[in-house]
């Protein structure tokens, strides 16, 4: 036994990779035996670390503990054991033994089977607290010898190299790990390739039987999350590996479907026939934004209101939310998302499965119709897309054995959990993190209204920090005025200016806090229009820019400019200047065909303007976003 451990240590070091800002792990793994007999990922004993984000190599499958035989797995054993596991993705009790992952002897691998991710996800998310210290073969981190994962891990390596150094100090075994020779590495890769081929062969089976997760288990999570929300990220991270192993079919499915392009006439026609909301095309459409919906604003409202009692397929709660979107009553990413989810809950509660249909299929279709209705009312935000994906996933993965009422209750509780964990608790965690970044005497600049930033400012004020706030605002929404009023009422000292004055005021600012509608996986921040300008000016004045964004808003999409995807607001709002009767040059702009008014809603902030992103997973640099996205996506799908 001892001998084996030593061998393992040489190649497969336990590796705790941490990203972002964290305290050194107070409880490093020093207990070898517990590692080799596959330890539970982040078992409670070493879960005390306060680090917000930790990237951890894939854990040995927890299940292996139940199959001690596997821990003997040695030498070149990606074979029978692991292969037999390939099909065993489902975590149903009847499932065959799990593969062991991360055992490397003499450069040979036992390649764990990809379905593992379901397990690790479940495990990770059910751990009570943050700091997972997982052990695994470092070599396994570059699975399959494929280029893409390797690149990713290289990236991470850069980011965390400092962290690693720290860990190396705490973990004596570390230095040895780097001692893979070239030939060993090659052997390793080869074995991985072989494993991949094997996995491919069996790939389809597990994808079909993807494991649903019992509601009971899932519902444990909220309480645990409270301890430290950092648990989630690491759990997500655990799956990085799993996601690399997606069989081709799944991988394709993961690529988001291309968005509707509104310059495609035939598709627009088709969509119109289906549409609930009667839209009239806007006058003087902006040529550059033909691909986005440009409709008259406000004209649909009376029509829809009159149809309120006729719309059979639409649930009244959903309908109400749709009208609120349309009228602009409900704004703000979180508020819109919560309202939508709650409307879905209502609708699901009232849902009755029609005869000869299955709940999971029919309800999914129903939800899709709701979503398309809401999308007509106002294009959905990216965060809402993520939430919808979650709901649909929960429905699709519902166990068939559940009765209808149970299924409905479980979906509703899942949605509740999503709201409380991903939004409300996430905000609390962000506030907690951000408060540590505010010092006495700071001048904090914020732009528009972000509910998280507002919470941060109020919290910091409550805990007695002495600081001043600069609220920057812009037309046409002038959201900042509402924030300003609330802050001043609470007794914060505020300075108000408009976005053009930001260069003037930036001299006195020490930090910039901005909200975001979404953070894309190339690190760009998709947020209310003007955010990019503020971030740009701040970075030109060397003022740190902190983006506050819940991780459920992260998205794997990438975007380089603000034109390819955006949302257009009401052009009339641009021509009319609120409170300024003297500015009325464009009152009759609709009659001038050379004139277009553009009311852009969002823009894209390049990642180099962003110093730090504050999420519920901790404080990360923008380059770490893709990591969290991968993790998080799995986390969301499987929790």
């Amino acid at each position: 036994m001892d001998q084996r451990h030593r061998v393992q240590r040489a190649v497969s070091d336990p590796k705790v990779r941490q990203v972002g800002f964290f305290a050194p792990n107070p409880n490093p793994i020093s207990d070898f035996p517990s590692r080799s007999s596959p330890p539970l990922a982040g078992s409670p004993s070493n879960a005390t670390s306060s680090s917000p984000v930790i990237i951890i190599p894939p854990p040995p499958p927890p299940a292996a503990r139940n199959h001690p035989a596997l821990s003997h797995l040695v030498v070149g054993s990606y074979d029978a054991a692991s292969e037999s596991l390939l099909g065993s993705s489902s975590r149903l009790p009847s499932s065959p033994p799990y593969s062991a992952r991360g055992f490397v002897v003499d450069g040979e691998f036992s390649e764990e089977s990809w379905p593992q991710r379901s397990n690790s996800a479940k495990f990770a998310s059910s751990f009570p607290s943050g700091g997972f210290n997982l052990t695994a073969a470092r070599a396994v981190i570059t699975p399959e010898g494929d280029a893409s994962p390797a690149v990713i891990s290289a990236n991470e390596k850069n980011e965390v190299s400092a962290v690693e150094a720290k860990n190396e100090r705490t973990e004596s075994s570390k230095p040895e790990k780097a001692k893979l020779t070239k030939s060993e590495r090659r052997a390793l890769q080869e074995s991985q390739r072989a494993a991949k081929a094997a996995a491919k062969g069996e790939g389809n089976k597990p994808s079909a039987g993807a494991a649903p997760c019992g509601p009971g288990k899932a519902s444990k999570q909220p309480a645990q999350k409270k301890d430290t929300a950092s648990a989630a990220p690491s759990s997500a991270l655990l799956e990085r590996k799993g996601s690399d192993r997606l069989p081709e079919k799944d991988r394709k499915k993961d690529v988001p479907a291309p968005r509707m392009q509104f310059d495609d006439k035939s598709r627009v026609e088709k969509a119109k026939r289906r549409a609930v909301v009667n839209q009239t095309e806007a006058r003087n459409r902006v040529e550059l934004f033909r691909h986005l919906p440009q409709y008259e604003h406000g004209t649909q409202l009376p029509d829809l209101e009159s149809k309120f009692f006729q719309l059979d397929p639409m649930h009244s709660a959903v309908y109400k939310v749709g009208l609120q979107y349309l009228s602009g009553e409900l704004t703000g990413g979180n508020a819109r998302c919560i309202a939508m989810l709650q409307a879905f809950q209502e609708a699901i509660k009232d849902y009755v499965t029609p005869p000869e249909k299955t709940l999971s299929r029919d309800l999914t279709a129903r939800v899709s119709s709701y979503v398309s209705f809401l999308n007509e009312c106002r294009p959905l935000s990216i965060s809402m897309g993520n939430a919808i994906r979650f709901v649909k996933n929960r429905i699709a993965k519902m166990q068939i054995t559940l009765s209808e009422s149970e299924a409905k209750a479980s979906i509703c509780s899942d949605i509740d959990r999503f709201i409380s964990e991903k939004i409300i608790l996430a905000d609390q965690v962000i506030v907690k993190h951000a408060a540590t970044k505010i010092r006495d005497g700071d001048v904090l600049l914020t732009y528009g209204t972000s509910c998280v930033v507002e919470m941060i400012l109020l919290h910091a004020h409550e805990v007695g920090k002495k600081f001043r706030v600069v609220v920057v605002d812009s037309r046409p929404k002038l959201e900042g005025q509402r924030l300003l009023r609330r802050l001043v009422t609470k007794g914060l000292s505020c300075t108000y200016t408009h976005i053009n004055g930001v260069s003037y005021i930036m001299h006195e600012v020490s930090k910039v806090f901005l909200g975001a509608a979404s953070v894309l996986s190339n690190g760009t921040v998709y947020s209310r229009v003007g955010t990019a300008s503020v971030a740009m000016v701040a970075s030109s004045f060397r003022v740190p820019v902190l983006i506050c964004c819940e991780a459920y808003k992260f998205h794997e999409r990438v975007q380089l400019d603000s034109i390819c995807f955006n949302e257009l607001g009401d052009p009339d709002a641009v021509s009319k200047v609120y409170g300024r009767l003297d500015v009325n040059y464009l009152d009759d702009w609709g009659n001038k065909e050379n004139l277009q008014l553009l009311n852009l809603m969002y823009d894209v902030t390049p990642s180099d303007y962003v110093s730090m992103i504050l999420t519920d997973y901790g404080m990360v640099p923008p380059t770490s976003v893709p990591v969290i996205v991968r993790e998080y996506r799995k986390d969301q799908l499987w929790m």
Partner: protein, 417 residues
């Protein structure tokens, strides 16, 4: 000359109340006022130039003090001073030449008169520089009064300068004033026509299917764009509205009236749109000697965005906007805060504006600056009447228009600047 003084006072009042909008209008009115000051000024027989300079300087100090932010006033005062010096110089040199040719006749004055209007300010300056420049340094060293320096230096040209002076003193006294007024008329004309001269160059800079972004409104920009349109260039214009004055709405309206494809965007969308823009063309409030620009608020943001996307940032500026001073902390010292009412409705926020909460200071401040400073590194090109120039060349261009002796008009003002 009580009526001149009343004119001056009236103008000062207008400046103080910020009743005059735009540097072109200010420049023009300043020039007109100074013209009348000069025409009413009694001229002694000796050192007429010095008398004129003193008179203009006295008025100029008052004007500048009335609105130290409006640098166009100071520019015009300096220009007028420079004109007086140049005219005086050219008269003396002409007189000397006349002597040298030994034909002291009356028509010498006539030829000179015909000559002077024909010469452009730049050409005059170029001619004068060779003689003026070194002596002005000399005056500094020898601590001589300016007025005496000029005749003194010009005497280096000819030996018998004392004789000539006494000979045509009477003609010269009338002629100097006359020439100066002529030159100021020219200056006023220059100011009036600077838009057209700048606009003439539009075709060289704007090409087919270009997308041009501008912020706020500037008459120069309007004329520039329209000139390109008249030359059958088809292009599109993005106009940022330019809060808090929203002059962009006005510009958009006028551009549309002239048949240009115009898109009005909010100021916040500048960064989003600039990736599709080929050129940013804006007006300026003042161009400083280092090539920095005092511009309507918001332009620093636009310039940064343009730099980020490698979009040329072109500033149009008439010559009256060229200021010979170097800026120090211009964002604050050369700025002006306007009324908060443009941003916040007092009615809505009246309850937040009380001096409460114990400390005695209000919790709510509103900052509404008028200008932005765009550093020279963000400017790609200046277009003036004389053509396009790099920011680093501006100091040289400016040296043509002003005399080094006039840079510091007033000790007090100078310390502010």
């Amino acid at each position: 000359m009580p009526d001149v003084q009343s004119l001056v006072n009236e103008f000062i009042l207008k400046l103080k109340k910020r009743k005059i909008e735009g540097s072109q209008a200010t420049a023009r009115q300043t020039a007109v006022l100074l013209r009348s000051v000069i025409s009413q000024q009694r001229i002694p027989y000796t050192s007429q130039a010095a008398a004129l300079i003193d008179a203009v300087r006295a008025v100029g100090e008052q004007l500048i003090a009335a609105n130290p932010i409006e640098l166009a006033v100071g520019n015009i005062v300096r220009r007028v001073l420079h004109i007086i010096r140049e005219e005086d110089l050219s008269l003396t040199t002409a007189a000397i030449e006349g002597l040298n040719v030994s034909s002291v006749s009356d028509d010498d004055g006539d030829t000179d008169k015909d000559d002077t209007p024909g010469l452009s300010a730049a050409a005059l300056a170029a001619a004068a520089r060779s003689t003026l420049r070194p002596p002005s340094l000399q005056t500094l060293l020898e601590d001589l009064p300016d007025s005496s320096a000029i005749p003194h230096t010009s005497s280096s040209g000819g030996d018998s300068d004392g004789k000539s002076k006494s000979a045509d003193k009477s003609t010269r006294s009338r002629k100097l004033k006359h020439d100066v007024i002529e030159a100021i008329n020219e200056l006023i004309q220059d100011i009036d026509t600077c838009h057209d001269q700048i606009a003439e160059q539009a075709v060289e800079h704007i090409h087919h299917n270009e997308v041009i972004l501008t912020l706020g409104s500037s008459k120069t920009v309007l004329e520039f764009l329209c000139a390109a349109k008249e030359k059958k260039r088809s292009f599109r214009v993005f106009v940022a509205e330019g809060a808090p004055r929203y002059q962009g709405h006005l510009l958009a309206k006028e551009l549309v009236a002239r048949g240009l494809q115009t898109t009005l965007i909010t100021d916040s969308a500048v960064f989003a749109m600039i990736s599709r823009v080929n050129m940013v063309i804006v007006g300026a409030h003042v161009v400083m000697a280092n090539g920095g620009v005092i511009a309507p608020v918001g332009l620093n943001m636009v310039a940064l965005a343009a730099q980020r996307h490698a979009v040329p940032f072109v500033v149009l500026a008439g010559c009256h906007k060229l200021c010979p001073l170097y800026p120090h902390n211009p964002e604050v010292l050369l700025n002006e805060l306007r009324s908060p009412s443009e941003l916040l409705d007092f009615g809505e926020f009246s309850d937040c504006m009380d001096f409460g909460y114990g400390t005695g200071t209000p919790l709510l401040h509103v900052v509404n600056p008028t200008f932005d400073y765009v550093p020279p590194k963000l400017v790609s090109l200046f277009i003036t009447e004389t053509g396009g120039h790099d920011p680093s060349y501006m100091y040289r261009l400016i040296a043509d228009y002003y005399s080094a002796d006039d840079l510091v008009l007033q000790r007090k003002v100078a310390s502010v600047k």
